[in-house]
Structures are given as C-alpha cells and as structure tokens.
Subunit: 207 residues, 2 copies
DNA sequence: TAGATTGTTAATCGATTAACAATC
DNA sequence: TAGATTGTTAATCGATTAACAATC
C-alpha cells in the first residue's frame, strides 16, 4: 500500500479509537454518517478514507466494526510493534507518560530521559527515567524507533541532535522551538502556545 | 482586516516568538529566508504571510524586527487582552499552567478548575484551582473568554457543555474525545494519541 | 418498491510554490 | 552595475465536497 494522505492517517487513528469504544459497547456495525457525527466531519470524507484503505461496507448495515478496527490496525501499526521514548520528564513529559501508558499494544513507551538527578532512576507510570547521557545506549538496547521531545525550549535543539545520532526514525516535538533533522527522519512538531494564540485570534473575532 | 487563513495565523504566532528572541539578541532586521530557515518553510511563504498582514520590508535590510512584532501583535492580540481558564488540573493541566504562565501579556491564565477536593483551593504556578461547580460564576467574574479542556476523556463532553453554558468564546480541547459546540464558539481540538500514531505510521515507512 | 446507503469520479476549495517584475 | 531581495500574480498541489450510479 502506498503512503496515505497525512490527514487520512490522522482520521484513521481517531476512527479507530472511537470504533473500539463502539465495539466495547457491543455495537457490531456502523454507518459512515455515524462515524462522521462523532468526528464533526462529513460522511463522504469517512467513506473516502475507508475507500483509500480498501475496505468495503455493506449497503444495509454499513461497516463491520471489528473488521474495520482490524484493518486500520494493519495499516497504521507495525506488526512487531514500535517502542517509544520520552525525552524530558517534567510536567509535560509526565503527563505524556501517564497519558500513553497501556494505550496501544503496538506502541509502547519503554523509557524516559532527563538531566535532573532527582528524577533519574525513578519510575513514573511504570516507565524508568534514565540519564540523558545513556540515550544512545538505551535506544539501541530497547530498540526504540520513536521519540517525544518534552524538554524546555533551550534544550530542544540539543536533544534533537542526540536523537538523530541515536538513529531514531520518528520524532514528535512538543517544544516550541523548531528543530532540524535529516530527511530520513519523520518529524512532527506541535506547539501549544501557537494553538492557544490561534484560538484566541479566532475567538476574538467571534459573534 | 478580514479573517486570515488558518495556517497563516499559526505561522504568525510562531514568527513572533522567534522574532522576540531575535530582538532580545539585538538583531534589528531580518530577511524572509532567515525566518524561513528557522521554521522549515520557504521564503515565499514568509513573504506571502507578511504581505497578508500588510507589512512591507526594505530590499536591502529585509524586515524591521520590532515593527513586525508590533504589527503581528496588532493582528493576533485583542488590545484589552483575553483571559483563559484551564479545566482539569491533572498532569496535563498542570503542565499547561506552568507552560503558559507569564508567556503573553495579552493572554493570561486566570483560573483553573477541577473536581478533586485535594486540588481545590490550592495554587499552581500562581493560578488558583476552583471547584468545577463555580465555573460559570468565575468565568463571568474574571471575564474569561477562552478555555482549555484537559480533563480525562469521559468528562470532556460534560465540561464542554458547561463551557458553552458559561458563554465561553473559544475552546482548545486536549481530550481525545471530540466535543460538540454551537457555531458561534471557536473550537480547536488536538489529540496527542493521534499525533503519536501518525509519527509511528510515517516512521514505520521510513528509510 | 422506495428509501437509504455505499463507492467513486469530477468539481471545488484552500494552501503552497513557481515565476517574475520592481528596486536598491 | 550585478546580485540580492521584496511583493504579487498565476500555476500547482493536496484535500474536501458535490454529484450520482449502483445496490440492497
């Protein structure tokens, strides 16, 4: 399967989460307009996304929830799973650890890193905190391919270069400073300050 | 000024943050390609964004840093400022409080809300935590127009309806459950799990 | 059947980028 | 001047939506 559009990947992740809830509630089938309502989008968009992954529903019942969850898993997940590290065990880092722990079996947070001696060696939400100097070693030992950057802004660039050196494949950067990585590393940046300022701008012009 | 494109608003917020750093370092002028390099985008895009807000640089020196910061402020900020509430003082909520405190003078976090009696009445990063039942009252008293939702997923929908009832103008929802709000409220949703799954998907297909 | 639904192409919309004139 | 830069239109790219045939 060739690479899916960016936005379709995001939506598939969201569909799956809500489909799992439907499944847990005993719902066996779901229509495109039901999925659409949950996510504030149009039924056409749902059908198109599902078309792109090659699944087919039935006219009377819509989509089989279990089958669709299964197929989204085949598309999004790596069969043998992927291991994740969180760099920066401050407020945000700890929030992320609790948030992600035990969420997806194919995506496990297996280590955290920090420079603060008080945090090193402790365990948060079942995840051990290692000193930043051990990053390269632990990444290799634990076969970590993805990292989340949640360090203070002035450390972000340094951490990014350590991650590149450790041959990480994907980075999710939550620090507000953009970082530079080579082309063969997938980088996603999210800046909470920008999101808040954006809400403020559009809220200002509302009603 | 009519409403700017979504993406331009986001970038202006980011430009400003880095321009303030440039200014603090004593840099008086900056070229479009310098701004572009910081943000991994093209100089054309920078110039187009700046064109949209009606600023003009000079051919030899580029843009005046102080003037550009000033103008972005006039576009993004409300002159009298806007007050923000954080609903949910858990890990993520506390991270957000520390993160945002004293960041922008025109955007102040003035209250937090929670249901946990142990947290109510305490002060975190200078922000008092109130009981959720007082939301409507405090929103009115403190003239709060923007709210950040950082409660556990099963409370998100309820909190959203409380916020709508309290006549909030903009909501930034960090819970992974999409919420429904009327048309006259600006809603921005961000889902950390989706971001991580997206990085995992593209990292999987890398190299 | 009539009505509701899916799957898919074509049209539209919005955002980015290419191209280039103007200018210092 | 030659080279570098800005400002802006037109072209392109990517994502969403409209339209509709097929089907149960």
């Amino acid at each position: 399967m060739s690479t899916l559009p960016d936005k379709t990947v995001e939506r598939l992740s969201q569909y799956r989460r809500n489909l799992l809830i439907c499944d847990a509630n005993g719902k066996e089938h779901i229509f495109s307009h039901e999925i659409a309502n949950i996510h504030h989008i149009t039924p056409v968009q749902v059908r198109r996304d599902i078309m792109l992954i090659g699944y087919t529903g039935t006219l009377r019942k819509g989509y089989n929830v279990k089958e669709l969850v299964e197929l989204i898993g085949e598309i999004l997940d790596k069969p043998e799973g992927q291991n994740v590290a969180i760099v920066g065990a401050g407020n945000l880092g700890r929030a992320l650890m609790k948030y992600f722990s035990n969420r997806r079996e194919k995506l496990s947070i297996v280590a955290a890193f920090d420079v603060n001696p008080d945090k090193i060696g402790t365990t948060l939400a079942g995840i051990e905190v290692y000193p930043l100097e051990k990053l390269k070693q632990i990444v290799k030992e634990k076969n970590i391919s993805i990292a989340i950057i949640s360090v203070p802004v002035n450390e972000a660039v340094n951490v990014a270069s350590l991650l590149v050196d450790a041959k990480i494949k994907g980075i999710l950067n939550y620090s507000p400073r953009p970082v530079n990585v080579p082309e063969n590393i997938y980088l996603e940046e999210y800046d909470m300050v920008t999101s808040l300022e954006k809400v403020a701008y559009f809220a200002k012009n509302m009603k």
